[in-house]
Amino acid sequence: MAEMWITMGPQHPMTHGLWTLRVKIDGETVTDTEAELGYIHRGVEKICEARDFTQITPYCDRLCYVSAMTWAHSYVMAAEDLLEAEVPERAEYIRLMAAEVQRLASHLMWLGAFGPDIGNLTLMTWCLRDREMFLDLLQELGGSRMHYNYPRIGGVKRDLPIGWANRLKAKVKLFENRINEYEMLLDESTIWLVRLQGVGYATAEDQLDAGVTGPNIRAAGVNTDTRWTNPYSVYDQVDWEPAVEKPTSVKGADCYDRYRVRMEEMRQSCRMLLDAIEKIPGGANTHYQPGDEMILTKAPTRAPEGATGFSTYECTRGVSNFYIQGGGDSRGKNPYRLSIRSPIFITIPYVAKTMIGYKVADIPAIMGSFDPCIGESDR
């Protein structure tokens, strides 16, 4: 039979968003692929040139609806670098906790969406049930369920509500047991193992050269994580270890390793959260008023021409970078240029190449295991 091109997407359950994967097949085998993005390009970088530094945070929330908190933090860190703002230590702890709760919620959303890809619908209901616990916690901080607009340049919007730490502790302890439940459900499921093991190999060096970062690299046996290689916040003060997984082949990590590393990463986030509650300066059950110097310092609002700000942040899907140039419109209140590096934008073309040689039925497993999110990649 002759080779032919088929188009998966933009409306296809595999895509996890709007994009198109064009696949050339020879029978059941993938021989070539081509990714097409840009279906939901909103021009965030251009819009940000007409907004001042405070107004940009909500746009960065909306880059990724699954992991809004980490994207807003990533932007705010770059803005702090540009505006030379200092963050109080208590605010750093609050940010760490907010970002890690978001990481749990995001990985749960990934796992919940990955389950039906593989044929396990139970997983989705379980994951969304548990994700709700963490969304409730984030809602208490930011006021809304998905887009929080929580971090501020120089601190955070509000302090932890009274009792938040206790609720967090109870939920995290419950969730640690739930992770074991997931593993009992998945690791003994033949379908899960057959569909994931031995599929979608990727080595650490290849992935890094192609720009892939985050859990996908750590699945290949290296514990590199920007939370310690490019240290920020107070990750050096809390108790955790970067999640890392032993790859099952010299060809690198397969889909199963990428699933395992995210489960381990959720455990580490839980560990970090429980420790941060104990160590937060001022105590976790104290509530400072908004704008108190314990949680927010006053930052300049204008950046001079020629100043630049850059941040490296471990988002839930990999390393996100923001690069800002000062001296824009409104006499320096706006950025002149704001540029976003989205981990998934770079990952998708790599994953498309990874699929070559596997079967058409493996495409959802390979694609899903890299955790694509089109909101952030199209910007």
Binding site: G38, V87, E205, D209, A210, G211, G221, V244, I346
Partner: protein, 217 residues
């Protein structure tokens, strides 16, 4: 307790990188300096300013001699009111991370405090000012880091910087049938209308008019 890279290690690595770059390239007029972040942990990174013709030599040196293994982002900026020799600028952000392939069923657990020499993670920033004009152009580094591939596509698509030698250049974020020469992040393109800053002139949007207003139907 979480592992970390200390500020002493970082300063030492930044100094070594700057010395090595300067001894190799300072005769050619390339400047390399260690710059500290102004917030957070105040770690240093290496900032390199060079001309387009020097880019590939520097990129190869960084990759082969200094172990820079990750191209994070490529950013183009348009300065229509800039000087004649800086009408455009391209910024590359690169990273060095101690990542190596491992055998099956093994893993590498790095301790940040114990890393030495070229294993210490380091960030690099390359600025390339380009002369004003209609055809900004730099050589491609697509073949040096595969990760630069889609970054360069994006930069061409949005800003219109031409990457000489880039294979398979095409639109990635804008529609594939966008007009030739349309690159929305160039400064002559304004949001929504020309000379109208909707955020300050009309925050509620009451003044917005449909495009075909006044046209006889």
């Amino acid at each position: 307790m979480g592992t970390t890279v200390t500020i002493e290690q970082n300063a030492e690595a930044a100094k070594a990188c700057v010395e090595s770059l300067n001894s190799r390239f300072s005769d050619a007029g390339v400047t390399a300096e260690a710059v500290a972040q102004t917030s957070g942990k105040k770690h240093e990174f290496v900032r390199i300013i060079c001309s387009p013709s020097q880019l590939r030599a520097i990129a190869k040196f960084l990759k082969l001699e200094m172990g820079v293994n990750h191209c994070a982002m490529v950013t183009g900026t348009h300065f229509p009111e800039g000087s004649a020799d800086r009408g455009w600028e391209v910024a590359y952000h690169l990273n060095r991370w101690p990542i190596a392939n491992v055998e099956a069923h093994t893993m590498t657990v790095l301790k940040g405090e114990e890393l030495k020499g070229d294993d210490i993670p380091m960030g690099f920033e390359i600025f390339i000012p380009l002369p004003a004009g209609d055809s900004p152009s730099v050589p491609t580094i697509q073949d040096i880091w595969e990760g630069a591939d889609w970054n360069e596509k994006e930069t061409w698509d949005l800003v219109g910087i031409d990457f000489e030698g880039h294979v398979n250049m095409h639109r990635v974020l804008n529609p594939h049938d966008s007009p030739v020469g349309f690159h929305p992040l160039q400064r002559q393109h304004k949001i929504r209308y020309h000379d109208f800053n909707e955020m300050y002139d009309d925050p509620q949007g009451f003044g917005r008019k449909p495009i075909d207003e006044g046209r006889v139907k």
